[in-house]
């Protein structure tokens, strides 16, 4: 008789890599924001420049991919009448089909988009920056070059478009995030040329200038959210709740999704500053994280927006702890995420699982795919 297949084991290295990749995209976004805002002659950041993470922009009715709808580029930048849209893809895949498909989607940014910080929300033109891990930048650049040469190439941009690779490296004295252009140009010639040679941005400067940003506008690994919530957000509520000896070292925290989301946006993400702003991190991710805690037996759902968390000290590495719990409860979590089966006739329509329902923001965003 064949022996049963060995039980798969939790691989924490993978979880940590996923979290690290996610954080790399945060750094890449901040690095791009910083280089575009940088006034090279004045050697300082331009205080009048504007930027938004996941800002909602409206496409025209001639958009080749998504006409007359809202789209959310990862980064929207505006400086001295110039606009830059940045799209970050952190995938390490070597499949050309994946990149080709991504680039096709990015074509939707090659449109007279509305949503800029001007009176009529329009800009005469803007640039498109496709930001990828440096190790994949040549591959992506080659695809674009090939499409550009081909008479019937599908991926051609009317507006200035560039492929920018990002990479982290240890310098002689500091840690840096490098940005380097591998294809195309930006309309700011000086910036474009400097990017061609590569611009190293010290990581500590990003921390000082932009604060402790830990999120961009696509969903992070759930272990990352849970560790952050458990270690930094819940403890800030502890003083509001009594410690009851009967709870065996646990403190029962009654928490609201909205409050957690707001605290995480203020401290680690980006606030909504106008009607086109996007909440980063999204409420839906917070709710999803709380639903994970319910499945782990660490919280209970009071109502749609309220949970009771049994807060306690956890031993060891909390990222590993939550990564392990996610792995162990994968079956239950998959069930929660899956759409419900149709009910018997006459008993009503099925609804999505409440916790993991998609965010209500009506966007068309096929490009929002952090990893492959």
């Amino acid at each position: 008789m064949a022996s049963p297949a060995p039980k798969p084991k939790y691989n924490h290295t993978r979880t940590r890599e996923d979290c690290d990749n996610y954080y790399n995209t945060v750094l890449a976004a901040l690095a791009l924001i910083n280089v575009v805002r940088w006034d090279e002659p004045g050697r300082k950041l331009d205080p009048d420049s504007r930027f938004g993470i996941g800002r909602r922009m409206t496409t025209s009715d001639k958009n080749p991919v998504s006409a007359s709808t809202d789209i959310t580029p990862d980064i929207v930048l505006q400086r001295r009448g110039n606009g830059v849209l940045g799209e970050i893809t952190n995938s390490l895949t070597e499949k050309d089909e994946f990149w080709t498909e991504k680039l096709k989607q990015v074509r939707k940014y090659d449109d007279a988009l509305r949503g800029w910080w001007t009176k009529d929300e329009n800009l005469p033109s803007h640039d498109i920056a496709f930001i990828v891990q440096q190790s994949r930048a040549v591959r992506v650049a080659d695809i674009l070059a090939k499409e550009k040469r081909a008479r019937k190439g599908e991926i051609k941009f009317k507006r200035p478009a560039a492929v920018i690779g990002f990479n982290r490296h240890s310098g002689a004295t500091k840690e840096y995030v490098d940005l380097m252009k591998f294809f195309g140009d930006l309309s700011d010639r000086d910036l474009s040329e400097r990017l061609r040679h590569g611009i190293p941005i010290p990581q500590d400067i990003l921390l000082e200038v932009y604060g402790d940003r830990k999120f961009v506008d696509f969903e992070p690994p759930m272990a990352y959210v849970l560790q952050l919530m458990w270690d930094t957000v819940f403890p800030s509520y502890l003083s509001e709740f009594p410690v009851d000896a009967a709870n065996k070292g646990r403190t029962l925290l009654t928490v609201k999704v909205d409050r957690i989301a707001e605290d995480m946006q203020n401290n680690f993400g980006f606030k909504v500053e106008d009607a086109r702003g996007t909440e980063v991190p999204a409420r839906a991710w917070i709710k999803k994280a709380l639903e994970h805690l319910v499945i782990f037996g660490m919280a209970a759902r009071v109502d749609d927006k309220t949970y009771q968390v049994q807060y306690r000290s956890l031993r060891g590495d909390h990222l590993e702890y939550f990564g392990g719990l996610i792995f162990k409860n994968k079956g239950k979590l998959d069930l929660l995420a899956a759409p419900l089966q149709p009910m018997l006739p006459g008993l009503g329509a099925p609804t999505a699982a409440p916790a993991l329902a998609a965010p209500s923001v009506p966007v068309d965003d096929a490009t929002k795919e952090p990893t492959a």
Binding site: T173, K174, D204, G211, D212, L228, L314, L319
Partner: protein, 379 residues
């Protein structure tokens, strides 16, 4: 036996409690048996008497803390109070220590003094564990090797006819051998050298002292003679001495309070708030050399952080740069620790971070990795 001119523990506690007369009586106190005049510097944001009275009401089977009520009022030090403490300890063999201590609140800012005339066991088995249990309401300061050396220099400068002769050091040493299972060796070393030499040798050997035990000596007919003054200074704000209390008060205790208060002031107010737009206020530990150009040192720091007691360390990135999330399980303060520069450790307070927890993390890095210069982070 005490003479008529000597003070006793009881007369010290019973007399007026303005600082000059207290120092005067402590200078003249007759010590019985293994008694020493001992002082502990301790920080508290809440009034310390209130904290101790709260602890008194929560007496457990092991600890009896009681305020001694027959106090003589009138002093210019605020509400000086006396407490008696009895603590039972030991598992196999039940033991207990008891003694009394005076509490001088708010001597410098948030710094308070506990003064007691008891055998050393009262400190080690009674009062010190009680204060540790009161963390983070009561926080013991920590001092760097340079500051410890300064205390000794102050003492020598205050009494130029004498010199501080170190008799014993309790130290930790980083183990350099790559195959060593332990990262540190703790040792008690008996010596008989002048303090400057002892501190210089410690620096050369990568050692740092938890405490030093010394004697005051003077030159008489070409030979060193004892002054019969013995003392202990600990890294964690403790002093014990057998004589010359006011000398040590000015040369050791006052600077301890100054350093402690300055450090506490530096570390406080780092919780993120709306008024500061939720921006973190990081602190850095700076080293004189590029310690982290050797990647192994990052590994050593990470190992040290993972050993953070009563807390957790979650690793987000370990190599080539370091990013961990630290959580203090005493008051659930959180801070991220980064190594982004080759010569510094960056500590980024999170949503709520108390000065006590920051102090504990920094002290842990100083003690388990290496001491550096604390400063405001400016990229």
């Amino acid at each position: 036996m005490p003479t008529l001119f000597d003070e006793t523990k009881f007369s010290v506690f019973a007399g007026g409690k303005d600082l000059p007369s207290l120092l005067n009586r402590l200078d003249r106190v007759f010590l019985e048996g293994k008694q020493q005049v001992q002082v502990c510097v301790i920080a508290s944001k809440r009034p310390i008497l209130q904290v101790l009275r709260d602890m008194e009401s929560l007496a457990s089977e092991r600890i009896t803390l009681k305020e001694i009520s027959d106090e003589i009022p009138s002093n210019n030090l605020g509400n000086v109070a006396a407490f008696s403490l009895k603590r039972r300890y030991g598992v196999k063999e039940r033991k207990s220590v008891s003694g009394d201590f005076l509490v001088l609140p708010d001597v410098r800012g948030n710094m308070n003094l506990l003064i007691f005339i008891e055998p050393l066991a009262f400190w080690h088995e009674g009062l010190s564990p009680l204060l540790d249990a009161a963390y983070p309401r009561l926080v013991r300061p920590f001092f760097t090797q340079t500051e410890m050396h300064q205390f000794v220099r102050n003492t020598q400068a205050a009494l130029p006819t004498h010199r501080v002769q170190v008799l014993r050091t309790s130290s930790r040493e980083r183990l350099k051998a790559g195959d060593a299972r332990k990262k540190y060796a703790s040792q008690v070393k008996w010596t008989d050298s002048d303090a400057d030499t002892v501190f210089r040798e410690a620096a050369a050997n990568n050692e740092w002292f938890r405490s030093i035990f010394f004697e005051l000596v003077f030159l008489k007919e070409g030979r060193l003679s004892s002054d019969d003054t013995f003392g202990t200074i600990s890294k964690y704000g403790y002093l014990g001495c057998t004589r010359r209390f006011s000398l040590f008060y000015h040369s050791v205790i006052e600077p301890m309070m100054d350093y402690g208060e300055a450090r506490l002031t530096f570390l406080q107010g780092r919780t993120r708030t709306e008024t500061t737009n939720f921006l973190p206020k990081p602190v850095k530990i700076e080293y004189p050399t590029d310690v982290f150009s050797n990647v192994q040192q990052i590994g050593k720091l990470l190992e040290a952080l993972k050993r953070f007691k009563h807390g957790s360390c979650s690793v987000l990135h370990g190599n080539p740069y370091l990013h961990v999330s630290m959580l203090d399980n005493y008051d659930y303060s959180a801070a991220d620790v980064w190594v982004l520069n080759k010569n510094e450790v960056l500590i980024v307070p999170q949503i709520r971070t108390s000065e006590a927890a920051l102090k504990r993390i920094i002290s842990h890095i100083f003690e388990n990795f290496r001491e550096g210069k604390l400063g405001e982070s400016r990229a």
